[in-house]
């Protein structure tokens, strides 16, 4: 594979000055987006371990009916923290971290627009996460579920301080997310290299851009709700205290006004990663860039119009139920047709099944399963039966794990060499993938049936009804297999950092700007930029007889 050639008439950037501060301080005090991105990733990995342990504890308790491994109170704290951790301390940070690291590189910039604010957003994440987890030591973690419905979340029914830590912790995390969103939007809009028009943005960058707007509009709704909850709990106000005229349903509307865009916040950047990985390992340009980009905008707009599909069983009345069903069915279309775009990209290609590609292909099927069960909920009489059951737990894990986490796994195997300069072991990677695929499906597929035969969610135990014990046991075994897969992943990272194969600038023969610099990149990212005349600058360089810009792309 040829290296990136030097273009004529290029200007060289000033070389970075050598830093004299110690290693630790350099990391803590850094405003460099690459170090900050890595710290985001490390933070999310640590919380992934915490959330995973919480999941395994839950699965042990549920392995057999009537188990007493965890008390009801302990179980309820753990399931609340599992959900809260995975959404706010794993999914969002890992995606923000990848965006932080990659976006400036992919648009040909030296850093983000506001480097100090970038550091602020990272440390707000770390502090917010620690603050939330401190609740375990302060009388108990929150135990009202990750969406803390009122009035259960009010002091009368949740007297420990757990929910105060929840509300304030998430408030801090929300500020961090908003700060990061402002930064990424400003970076993408203002700091693109010459030639990098909006229409030439890599799809990952495009999806990140749309996601940041979702964050900007959705997280304040959560922060407003959390403020009102805190004022209720600490100052005895009445917003959601039904006994004194407050409204339980107002909390739900407010929360889901945040909560629904939130699920797209944690899935769109994942779509972006898939949109980078599949073309590279199929050897073909993404099929239908414009449709994929436009459908993302459609999703973003629609995501603000479907929130009450989380409330179909609340008794809103048929007219309102119907309106939200329409929106929820509509939003399935732009989400679903991307799957066709990705398959069409593979079609006629020359597919190399690296670990990154395996996870991307696995994502295609896993996310389809999750998306389809989601459509079944939109046909809301079905929701009237299976919402708040294990059928729902299956759905959400298929989209969030089979979707987001599989895509993130793909992205990590793809970009790890760029970030660290070393290639993750393909041998361990493939083992990680196959064991994870088996474990994940073993854990969650039968939960569809468990919900259908009557098992509600968020229960610390269950009666010994036919099939419940068996299916729960299968699910628990699957969960431990997933744990093994994660261990393999961590092992892979460890041995690679110690003595992995050196990657070089562009080990995958990829086409976007991040591959036009060293692995890892220098402090200011690029010494030289290739000319940017299309969406695939490196393809153009390697194919002077058939560059993309000849096709007007």
């Amino acid at each position: 594979m040829s290296d990136v050639p030097v273009t004529v008439g290029a200007q060289t950037l000033p070389l970075t000055k050598r830093e004299h501060t110690s290693s630790m301080l350099r990391w803590v005090a850094t405003v460099d987006h690459k170090k900050i991105g890595i710290m985001y990733l490390v933070t999310s990995l640590i919380f992934f371990a915490a959330g995973g342990i919480e999941a395994l504890l839950m699965r042990i308790q549920l392995a057999v009916p009537g188990n007493s491994f965890l008390s009801p109170n302990a179980y309820n704290q753990i399931f609340t923290m599992h959900g809260t951790t995975m959404i706010f301390l794993v999914a969002m940070p890992v995606l923000t971290g990848m965006a932080n690291y990659l976006v400036p590189l992919m648009i040909g910039a030296k850093d983000v627009a506001l480097p100090r604010m970038n550091a602020l957003s990272l440390w707000l994440l770390v502090f917010g996460g620690l603050f939330l987890y401190f609740s375990f030591l302060a009388g108990g973690a929150p135990s009202a579920g990750w969406f803390s419905y009122a009035p259960l979340s009010e002091k009368a029914y949740s007297s420990s301080q757990g929910l105060d830590y929840y509300a304030l912790g998430l408030f801090i995390l929300g500020i961090g997310s908003i700060v990061a969103a402002i930064n990424l939007i400003a970076t993408i809009i203002l700091f693109r290299a010459p030639g990098m028009s909006i229409r030439r943005l890599p799809l990952f960058v495009w999806m990140v851009l749309i996601t940041q707007f979702l964050i900007l509009l959705a997280l304040p709704a959560l922060n407003a709700s959390l403020s009102m909850l805190l004022i209720d709990r600490l100052l005895n106000a009445h917003f959601f205290v039904t006994a004194s005229g407050g409204s339980a349903l107002l909390w739900q509307h407010f929360f889901w006004a945040f909560g629904h865009p939130e699920v797209y916040i944690v899935v769109l950047p994942a779509f972006g990663m898939i949109s980078e990985v599949i073309p590279v390992f199929s050897g073909k340009v993404i099929y239908g860039y414009e449709f994929v980009a436009a459908s993302t905008v459609a999703i973003a707009v629609l995501s603000f119009l479907v929130w009450a599909h989380h409330m179909f069983a609340v008794g809103m009345g048929h007219p309102i139920d119907t309106i939200f069903a329409i929106g929820s069915m509509l939003i399935a279309v732009p989400t679903g047709v991307k799957i066709f775009n990705w398959i069409a990209t593979m079609w006629g290609g020359a597919i190399r099944f690296t670990t990154a590609m395996l996870f991307a292909v696995g994502f295609l099927v896993m996310f389809t399963i999750g998306g389809l069960s989601g459509v079944s909920f939109a046909a809301f009489p079905i929701d009237w039966q299976v919402t708040d059951t294990y059928y729902l737990v299956a759905h959400l894990h298929y989209v969030l794990f089979g979707g987001t986490i599989f895509a993130v796994s793909s992205g990590i195997y793809y970009w790890f060499p760029k970030i660290t300069g070393r290639l993750l072991s393909e041998k361990f990677g493939k083992a990680h993938f196959w064991i994870m695929l088996v474990g994940f499906n073993l854990t969650f597929f039968d939960q569809h049936f468990l919900g259908i035969i009557g098992m509600p969610r968020r229960v610390f135990t269950y009666p010994n009804l036919p099939g419940w014990g068996t299916m729960n046991m299968i699910s628990t075994i699957g969960a431990f297999i997933m744990g093994i897969a994660v261990m393999l992943f961590l092992w892979n990272i460890l041995i690679t950092l110690l003595q992995g194969e050196i990657a070089g600038d562009n080990p995958w023969n990829a086409w976007t700007l991040e591959w036009a610099t060293t692995s890892p990149p220098p402090e200011e990212n690029f010494e030289l930029l290739p000319p940017i005349r299309s969406r695939r600058p490196l393809w153009d360089l390697a194919h002077p007889e058939n560059p993309d810009w000849k096709h007007g792309r």
Partner: protein, 194 residues
């Protein structure tokens, strides 16, 4: 343009102002939800303190005029800065801070009066939603005043003079805070009277 391959940094002021615009958008959503809560609970209680029987739109209206005037003076300050008239800039900035402080003084008096009449955040739904909404607004005004004071202090130095980007960015925030108050005043004070 396509043949160039240098990385250009855009002028500093652009990203600060863009960042403030985006921040203001997110804050607008935050206030929107507090406003929705207030509107939702408006009139829900038949007895007890309410906007109609506890608030004085005239008094608060007077202080509102002060706040909105501070938006005008801030705009004059920006204009002066752009024209290089630093004395005028400092004076308009001082007027802005003074008017903002007058508004906060009025808010403080109002809160004190309500507290004395046992209208508190925990008294009833009106209390909860009123104090939360106006309280967060007041907090934003205070933060704005602090930023303006910093600008003002820097305006007296020669070496650390505030850059245009800083002036325009903070002005944007201040205008937002003022105009949010227009919405709040209308919904909380005027609507009660109508």
């Amino acid at each position: 343009m396509d043949a160039e391959n240098t990385i250009e940094q855009f002028a500093i002021s652009d990203e600060n102002r863009l960042a403030m615009i985006l921040f203001v958008i997110s804050e607008a959503v935050f206030f929107l939800f507090l406003i929705i809560a207030y509107v939702f609970f408006h009139g829900a209680e038949k007895t007890g303190p309410s906007a109609a029987n506890s608030l004085n739109p005239w008094k608060t209206g007077a202080f509102t005029v002060a706040l909105l005037s501070s938006s005008f003076t801030m705009w004059r300050a920006e204009k002066s800065y752009t024209r290089g008239q630093f004395h005028a800039f400092r004076n308009w900035l001082a007027a802005t801070i003074a008017l903002g402080a007058i508004f906060m003084f009025g808010q403080g008096r109002e809160y004190l009066g309500l507290y004395r009449a046992n209208v508190t955040v925990n008294r009833n739904l009106f209390g909860s939603s009123f104090f939360t909404l106006t309280g967060f607004h007041g907090l934003h005004v205070i933060l704005g005043l602090i930023a303006l004071l910093v600008l003002f202090a820097l305006a007296f130095t020669r070496s650390e003079r505030p850059r245009e980007s800083a002036v325009r960015t903070i002005a944007l925030y201040w205008h937002f805070v003022d105009w949010v108050w227009v919405v709040i005043f209308s919904l909380v004070y005027l609507w009660a009277v109508l």
